[in-house]
């Protein structure tokens, strides 16, 4: 069963709409989802937007209107601004690494070889594990004393003594990027694999007759063919990584100190540890504006054919 929208190469039949469409029925069945959206998404966001102009902490019995002060604080506080830098490093690192490995894995899994089916099935595993579980697995592997990564690196002589990966700035960032990449590869591999199904084999055969090698075929034919998939999955990856919370919280809690304190961690700490709801909302609103261009790009490419 394949419920995918038409892939490149398939013909696209425009379905049109029911002629005697009952508008009332259409509105009625849309209403529950719309209500859920309004109550659980639209209203909370509007509420957060208005809250961003208030000071509302445990010291304020009622929200106090302070205008743009929260935003002023954010823009002058190097620590909070640092969250954007941390987020950018995490998002760029994770998205690029995921796309590179996801594409490589998709190309490998597109090749026919004995045992491919087993590999393809097992590939989903990192993606379906609960995030706490994935964090546990990597925290144990990267453990500063008995972790297998330390053991292997010491055995090959890369390091002399165990490294406390999660307690130093660079190590913690590398850890969350690796873990998140590990989780995301299966999904990206699936996207690329779906895109590869539309490849024109005659073109590849023709190039081969002209003497093109494997790498050249990847560079000249496959990568250009996958360009639309790259753009959309890149956008999706960035949207997902910009919002990532669970893995980072479970692995590092945003630390050591603030080394992995991305926006999601920052907002969570402001809101549910400091109970500074106004400040949390202000950071959140700026966070949404950071995401907005990518989401708009994604939605536009989604609707281009409709």
């Amino acid at each position: 069963m394949d419920m995918a929208t038409p892939l490149p190469g398939r013909t696209h039949r425009k379905p049109g709409y029911l002629k005697r469409g009952d508008r009332l029925f259409a509105y009625v069945i849309l209403a529950p989802a719309m209500a859920a959206f309004l109550v659980m998404v639209a209203w909370p966001f509007i509420d957060a937007m208005s809250m961003s102009f208030y000071s509302y902490t445990v010291y304020d019995p009622e929200p106090v209107f302070i205008g743009l002060d929260n935003f002023r604080t954010i823009l002058t506080d190097p620590y909070v601004l640092g969250s954007w830098v941390t987020t950018a490093i995490f998002v760029a690192g994770t998205t690029l690494l995921t796309m590179f490995l996801g594409l490589s894995w998709a190309l490998l899994m597109y090749q026919d070889f004995a045992g491919r089916g087993v590999f393809r099935t097992m590939t989903l595993l990192p993606w379906i594990l609960p995030s706490t579980v994935s964090a546990f697995i990597w925290a144990w592997m990267l453990n500063g004393r008995y972790g297998i990564v330390n053991v292997l690196m010491m055995n090959v002589g890369a390091i002399d003594s165990p490294v406390q990966f999660l307690s130093n700035d660079v190590g913690a960032m590398v850890a969350i990027i690796l873990t998140r990449t590990w989780i995301s590869i299966p999904l990206f591999m699936s996207f690329f694999l779906a895109g590869l199904q539309g490849m024109d084999f005659q073109q590849i055969e023709a190039a081969r007759i002209d003497g093109a090698g494997n790498l050249r075929i990847v560079k000249r034919l496959i990568l250009p063919h996958l360009k639309p998939v790259f753009l959309v999955t890149g956008a999706l990856g960035m949207i997902g990584n910009l919002q990532q919370f669970d893995i980072i919280f479970a692995l590092t809690g945003g630390g050591p100190v603030r080394a992995t304190s991305v926006l999601s961690i920052e907002v969570y700490k402001q809101a549910f540890q400091n109970w500074s709801l106004g400040m949390a909302s202000a950071i959140g609103v700026l966070w949404v504006f950071t995401l907005m261009p990518i989401v708009i790009f994604y939605l536009r490419s989604l609707f281009r054919e409709d």
């Binding site: 419920m3 038409p6 989802a33 957060a48 379906i128 609960p130 706490t132 144990w140 998939v229 709801l277």
Partner: protein, 278 residues
């Protein structure tokens, strides 16, 4: 697709395969192997790759001591309920978008899809007091409702793109026979769309089952806690970490979703990639 004629090409291909496969699968193997090691074998500077004396103690204590079974139950109830709720809402909305034409349809659709722009953490700031004011904070019902946020936009799009491929002739024919819109949806459209419905429900189930943030924040009583925060609280804290127990509990928690996927994975991947690959 590739032609691996020379030994160099073969070596290159299988070397890359080995490196990525190691990265993807070794962590799972290592966790599983660790779950079966007693502490004496687990905490060693020269670890054994296969447990020399397979040990089930970590599984036994995970299942019998502490609240893991209770938390699994809580996760199962909230995730199943929110998955069904989400799939029903998405099916209705997707059908409305796919088969009917009305003014402001496209803006409404964009509105629902744009929900991906709002990070769950930001929405939570207002969802928390909102649930509090209606008495649903620290309840499984409140958590279930909040989970709708996660999957509804993509689920709606997935149902929409599936319904678009259901031929209009099928529906028109039923109309000629005098069936009402709702009857057509329930008796004709839904039965043939069941695979899509299951995919969407599974997609939503996964979001809720994997959730840490919402459950950690919206649930404060121990007896209502779900597995995500439950594991974190029990196994990893500043003073000590019980890695063998953590690995064993991890596999107990992951087992249900691995089983479901073993059965449904092909169809699932087709559904999820439909949103990105055209």
């Amino acid at each position: 697709m590739f032609e691996l004629r020379t030994w160099k090409e073969k070596l290159g291909f299988f070397a890359l395969l080995a490196v990525i496969a190691f990265f993807l699968f070794f962590p799972v193997y290592w966790a599983l192997s660790s779950a079966f090691k007693a502490n004496g074998e687990l905490y060693r500077m020269d670890p054994t790759f296969v447990p020399h004396q397979p040990y089930l103690g970590h599984f036994v204590s995970a299942l019998t001591e502490g609240p893991l079974m209770l938390q699994l139950g809580n996760s199962l109830v909230t995730s199943t309920a929110s998955a069904l709720l989400n799939a029903v809402l998405a099916a209705f909305a997707g059908y409305s978008f796919a088969k009917f034409d009305y003014p402001v349809k496209k803006p409404l659709m964009l509105l629902i899809l744009s929900a991906q722009m709002f990070p769950f953490g930001v929405l939570l700031i207002s969802i928390y007091p909102m649930l509090q004011s209606v008495g649903l904070l620290d309840t499984r019902v409140g958590l279930t409702i909040s989970y709708i946020v996660f999957a509804l936009p993509v689920s709606t799009y997935m149902m929409y793109s599936y319904f678009k491929q259901v031929p209009n002739e099928l529906i028109e024919a039923a109309r000629v026979d005098g069936a009402s819109n709702f009857k057509i949806f329930r008796r004709i459209v839904m039965p043939i769309s069941l695979p899509a419905f299951i995919t969407v429900a599974l997609y939503a189930f996964m979001w809720s089952w994997n959730d840490l943030l919402y459950s950690m924040t919206l649930i404060t009583s121990d007896d209502k806690r779900t597995v995500g925060p439950g594991l974190l609280l029990r196994y990893i804290n500043e003073n000590n970490a019980d890695w063998g127990g953590a690995m064993a509990a991890s596999f107990i928690v992951a087992a249900p979703i691995i089983l479901i996927f073993a059965v449904l994975q092909k169809q699932f991947i087709g559904g999820v990639t439909s949103g990105a690959v055209k």
